[in-house]
């Protein structure tokens, strides 16, 4: 695709030769009257149209190539972002900047740089055409090419380091801004508007400075190249002029070798800037290459943190046996272990309540089973299969976390997350089982009530019930519950516990809780001690 765009751009050089010929021979035909010049003038118009068409086709094919590449890369980045282990995950804002804004930088690289690179062949088309008209003019052009390329490489490498710094500043701004929007209620409640706006202004200022450094290098180099090209064209012009005036010394042009007439002189002069055009086009997009490479490095760094994508899901059909064998867990950058040598054997269908002070690792235990974190030591197995990068139970578990996921959309859509495609009857049944009836009765639109991303207007208990409804909609043989009754009153807790007991029947269940009432439904109680 980019090769096609490049080939078309090379044809642009052919059309440029046509236009130069039209200009030169049309001009010299003018004294013989308009009819004599007319064919040349027509050639000029056709050549100009051909140049426009070449530009058009190369833009379109380049755009299509860029679209395909961005589509693939963005999808890969999305999947990596979703698979990043907890604790190593950059902020959402930074990930978003990487997967959306930075993937866009590929546009310049694929749609402009690669075709421009392929189109440097056009340079030889122009050189051959020039050589036919004036070998010495062509020699002058060829001689100036090497220093030109050298200059270009020099400018390109200077930009590389700066592009990296700009990438970081951009990620920073994206992360700070997204975080501030997420934490908006806090900033408002604590009246930290001024301080946080200043923090954002600093990040925006840093991005401005970094961008300016990168641009300055790009502008200096393209100005340098442009000036150099102008100088070379002037050299050709002086040669042509002196040649026409007959002022070229004989030792350069023995036996009137390469003596120019007006048409050929104008032709060579009109063509000279075209010789540098492919290279200047390349130089102008050189920083596209730099930023695409930097972006690719940054994206690869994020991708490298993600576990191998080939995680084979274990499909659980019946309540599984779960074993923790001397499992330890420590988050990166922390010198305190969350779990140390933890061993537990949960029989199929057993309900286990994990109790212990906050910070003792109850949630981490559940995260381990889910595969959100990897143990730093020991083994975990489900039905004898060792969990880890090669096998995960994700997809076969029911999960009610401390802060259930709420997305913008209707209540029904939120519940249906557990099984996209569920019918509204099934959703309603699940909502009933989870005890959402009382809540639905107070909302005018019932399940069709719109909820925003923050879940404004949903109480803590209602969120937990939505998560539980998800489980009922897609019941799995393994159920993990993280403090499901933390936010509810005694009466609601009793109702919720009853719902959970119903859900737990015939399943292996692991519950992290402080509630004695919830723990009472467990077959077994495990106490974790704080370090």
């Amino acid at each position: 695709m980019t090769r096609l765009a490049g080939t078309v751009l090379t044809l642009d050089s052919v059309a440029a030769v046509g236009f130069a010929a039209a200009l030169a021979y049309g001009l010299t035909a003018l004294p013989r009257g308009l009819p004599a010049a007319a064919p040349w003038l027509a050639l000029g118009v056709v050549s100009a149209a051909a140049r426009g068409a070449c530009g058009f086709v190369s833009v379109c094919t380049g755009a299509e190539a860029a679209r395909r590449a961005k589509s693939i890369l963005r999808d890969r980045m999305t999947r990596h972002s979703l698979a990043l282990p907890l604790g190593q995950r950059p902020e959402t804002g930074a990930l978003m900047t990487a997967a959306i804004d930075r993937v866009e930088t590929l546009d310049g690289y694929i749609a402009r740089f690669l075709p421009a690179k392929a189109a440097t062949a056009g340079l030889f088309v122009v050189l051959v055409a020039t050589a036919i008209a004036s070998p010495i003019g062509a020699a002058i052009l060829a001689a100036t090419l090497l220093p030109f390329i050298f200059l270009m490489i020099l400018a390109g490498t200077a930009a590389a380091d700066q592009a990296e710094a700009q990438f970081q500043a951009m990620m920073r701004l994206g992360a700070v801004f997204a975080d501030l929007i997420r934490a908006l209620p806090l900033i408002l409640a604590f009246q930290a508007e001024a301080a946080e706006t200043t923090r954002l202004a600093h990040a925006a200022g840093a991005l401005k400075r970094r961008t300016m450094v990168v641009l300055r290098i790009a502008f200096v180099s393209s100005a340098g190249l442009e000036f150099f090209a102008a100088l070379a064209v002037a050299l050709v012009a002086i040669y042509c002029g002196f040649n026409l005036l007959g002022l070229i010394p004989g030792f350069i042009q023995p036996f009137h070798f390469g003596h120019l007439d007006l048409a050929r002189a104008v032709f060579v002069l009109a063509l000279a800037p075209e010789f540098y055009l492919p290279m200047r086009r390349l130089a102008a997009t050189y920083h596209d290459r730099q930023s695409a490479e930097t972006a690719a490095d940054g994206l690869m760094a994020i991708a490298a943190q993600a576990p191998p994508a080939a995680t084979a899901p274990l499909t659980l059909l019946t309540a599984p046996r779960i074993r923790f064998d001397n499992v330890s867990l420590r988050y990166p950058g922390h010198d305190r272990s969350v779990l140390d040598g933890f061993t537990l054997d949960i029989a199929p269908g057993q309900i286990v309540a994990v109790l212990g002070p906050s910070g003792a690792g109850k949630t981490s235990l559940l995260n381990l089973v889910l595969g959100l974190v990897e143990p730093t030591g020991g083994l975990m197995s489900v039905d004898g299969q060792v969990l880890g990068s090669l096998a995960s139970v994700a997809g076969s578990v029911g999960w009610v976390g401390q802060s259930p996921l709420i997305t913008a959309g209707t209540l029904a859509r939120n519940i249906a997350l557990a099984r996209p495609g569920a019918t509204s009857g099934e959703i309603l049944a699940a909502a009933r089982q989870a005890g959402l009836c009382a809540m639905l009765a107070t909302r005018a639109h019932g399940l069709q009530t719109e909820i925003d991303e923050r879940g404004s207007g949903l109480s803590g208990g209602e969120r937990q019930r939505i998560a539980l409804a998800r489980f009922f909609l897609n019941p799995a043989p393994l159920l993990l519950l993280d403090e499901p009754t933390a936010h509810v009153d005694a009466a609601s807790e009793a109702a919720l516990v009853a719902s959970i007991a119903k859900a737990a029947r015939g399943r292996t269940v692991l519950i992290a809780t402080h509630s004695p009432r919830l723990a009472a439904i467990a077959d077994r109680i495990v106490r974790l001690e704080a370090e």
Binding site: G26, L30, G44, G52, V59, C60, A63, S71, R74, L82, L84, G87, R89, T92, G93, M96, F177, I181, L186, L188, A189, F190, Q191, E193, A195, E196, T197, L200, A201, L207, M212, L215, F219, A223, A230, A237, I238, L244, G246, D261, L262, A265, Y331, P357, S358, A360, G361, K362, S364, A394, L405, A418, A438, S459, G460, R470, V488, D489, A491, S492
Partner: protein, 559 residues
């Protein structure tokens, strides 16, 4: 019509006037230089040839120094001018953006609270990044019309010596090119708008789904989420491709315009001397070429319209200078009209009721995170909407139920509630009071430990206590604590409650505690239980009046 955005741009143009003037001058130099460079070159070569043909004497008398000097001057003018225009123009534009972005955020903060809070992370980010970037492109193009004008003048200087006809023809083609460009801009505007909207939708979906990666993993929905994101991404990519294809039409238009102008000018100056005809032909081509930057501006019109509209919707909320002129005492009393209760300053009230009955709503209304349109609460006898928001918020310190955290360090999160006078000792004191000091001391970098996005590295209970410590740090007359001990084990909970009791006794702060748990409610001198039919207002249930002591009258049922 002057919108908030055009006001801001006008303001930026004023502050950056000097730079923009230089950029305009540079743009003019570039355009005039380019036109003159080619025109004079054509004339020079042709004149040289004629002089050469006329024989050695004419060749010897030919003055090639002056034209050659003009050509060099034009080349320098063009290169230097382009560099200056780009550097200064971009510096001005990026500077304007760096100032606009915080203003945008300030406008979001100042928006009516429902609107501010309904803005999703992805949507806000697309406004902050993509829409503002379109603005940058617009700002960079401010000198373009000046360049076009200078190019036309220089073009006329090249063309008029060859006669009025080629000059008029070139102007005609230029006008036609611009006219067709305008038509193309009109046709492609919808696609440009679509690009801006699509990117907002993509970011919205991306942020929402990626921030809940853990849940998606649990449900095995990562694939579904990736497809959801890919669908929005494909829509954006399609729109972008269409917009680029429209760009191809603009390129075609420009190339054809320049070619036809050159040939036409040459044909119309057939009766002139060859050097003048050469100058006219090349000058005509370059004159039409000068329209290029202008056409690219037209090409971006749809994107610009949409970006401006989206930015304006946010910027319209820039802080309004209408302070509510009501005075609030330093320690106002709170009247809850729906339950019918008066909370006197310094009292500690428990708020209970079944889940979903609206306890959190009352706290959020007090702290101005939710409008109290129906007027269910009075502060010092005044309805909340009548009170200046800053004054209202200064009255409360809030520990919200979700225990949200900034991504940053423990210190960053505490400092949200700090004043310039806050010392490290103060920070440790509130951590002690929230029974978190020991845990923070155990963290690798103590107060400066990075706690991850939304406190991801902390356990649920630790986050809750940090949330509490932050609320303690703010010296407001009323503490609003939403489920302060949810998720804490009984021992820690008891310690938190004891510390809170001591703290309240020492500071004389009033408090409203929303909780389902007996331990924190035991602190309260009075209890309001919200029910569907109204509310039950009690002293502590079953504890008898003696335990209420002097505080028993702090809740005065009204009506």
């Amino acid at each position: 019509m002057m919108t908030a955005l055009s006001n801001l741009i006008a303001q930026e143009r004023k502050t950056q006037r000097a730079r923009l003037l230089i950029a305009c001058a540079a743009a003019m130099a570039v355009a005039a230089g380019s036109v003159a460079l080619l025109g004079v070159s054509g004339w020079f070569i042709t004149a040289c040839a004629l002089a050469g043909l006329a024989g050695p004497i004419a060749a010897g008398a030919f003055n090639y120094v002056l034209p050659a000097a003009i050509i060099r001057l034009c080349a320098i003018l063009r290169t230097g001018g382009r560099y200056a225009e780009r550097v200064i123009g971009h510096d001005a534009a990026l500077g304007a953006l760096a100032r606009l972005r915080p203003k945008l955020f300030a406008a979001i903060l100042a928006a009516p609270v429902e609107r501010a809070l309904s803005l999703s992370v992805g949507d806000a980010s697309s406004r902050m990044v993509q829409d503002v970037d379109v603005l940058e492109a617009r700002f960079v193009r401010l000198p373009v019309p000046w360049g076009l004008a200078a190019g036309v003048l220089a073009g006329l200087a090249m063309l008029v010596p060859a006669g009025i006809a080629p000059a008029a023809a070139t102007l005609g083609i230029l006008v036609m090119t611009l006219g067709l460009g305008w038509v193309l801009a009109w046709l492609s505007a919808e696609v440009g708008r679509d690009v801006q909207r699509s990117i907002a939708r993509l970011k919205d979906r991306y942020a929402a789904l990626v921030s809940s990666a853990s849940e998606l993993r649990a449900y095995g929905l990562e694939d579904w989420a990736a497809q959801e994101i890919a669908r929005e991404s494909e829509a954006l990519l399609r729109a972008q491709k269409q917009l680029t294809a429209w760009g191809g039409w603009f390129a075609l238009l420009q190339a054809m315009g320049a070619g036809i102008a050159a040939m036409l000018a040459m044909a119309l100056s057939a009766h002139q001397s060859l050097p003048l005809a050469a100058m006219a032909a090349l000058g005509a081509a370059m004159t039409v070429d000068c329209a290029g930057p202008f056409l690219r501006g037209l090409e971006a019109r749809g994107s610009w319209d949409e970006a401006a509209r989206r930015l304006d919707r946010v910027l319209d909320n820039l802080p309004s200078p209408i302070p509510a002129a009501v005075s609030l005492s330093d320690r106002p009393d709170i009247r809850l009209l729906r339950p019918g209760a008066r909370l006197v300053p310094g009292s500690v009230t428990g708020l209970t009721g079944r889940s979903g009955i609206g306890k959190t709503t009352i706290l959020e209304q007090l702290v101005g995170l939710r409008a109290d349109e129906a007027v269910t609460i009075l502060l010092d006898g005044l309805p909340l909407p009548a009170i200046d928001l800053a004054r209202l918020r200064a009255t409360f310190s809030f520990a919200p139920q979700d225990a949200a955290m900034l991504s940053g360090t423990v210190r960053d999160n505490l400092l949200l509630a700090a004043t310039p006078a806050t010392s490290d000792d103060d920070l440790w004191q509130v951590l002690e009071d929230a029974v978190l000091a020991e845990t923070v001391r155990g963290l690798p970098q103590g107060l400066d430990t990075w706690i991850g996005e939304n406190g991801a590295v902390l356990s649920g209970g630790e986050r809750r206590r940090l949330n509490l410590a932050r609320a303690y740090l703010r010296a407001a007359p009323w503490l609003l604590l939403d489920e302060p001990t949810a998720g804490l084990d009984a021992v820690t909970e008891q310690r938190v409650v004891e510390r809170l009791r001591a703290r309240l006794a020492g500071s004389g702060q009033g408090a409203i505690i929303v909780s389902h748990r007996p331990a924190p409610l035991a602190l309260c001198t009075s209890l309001i239980t919200l029910t569907e039919s109204g509310a039950e207002i009690l002293g502590l249930p079953g504890w008898g009046p003696s335990r209420l002591g002097d505080h028993s009258l702090h809740i005065v049922p009204i009506v």
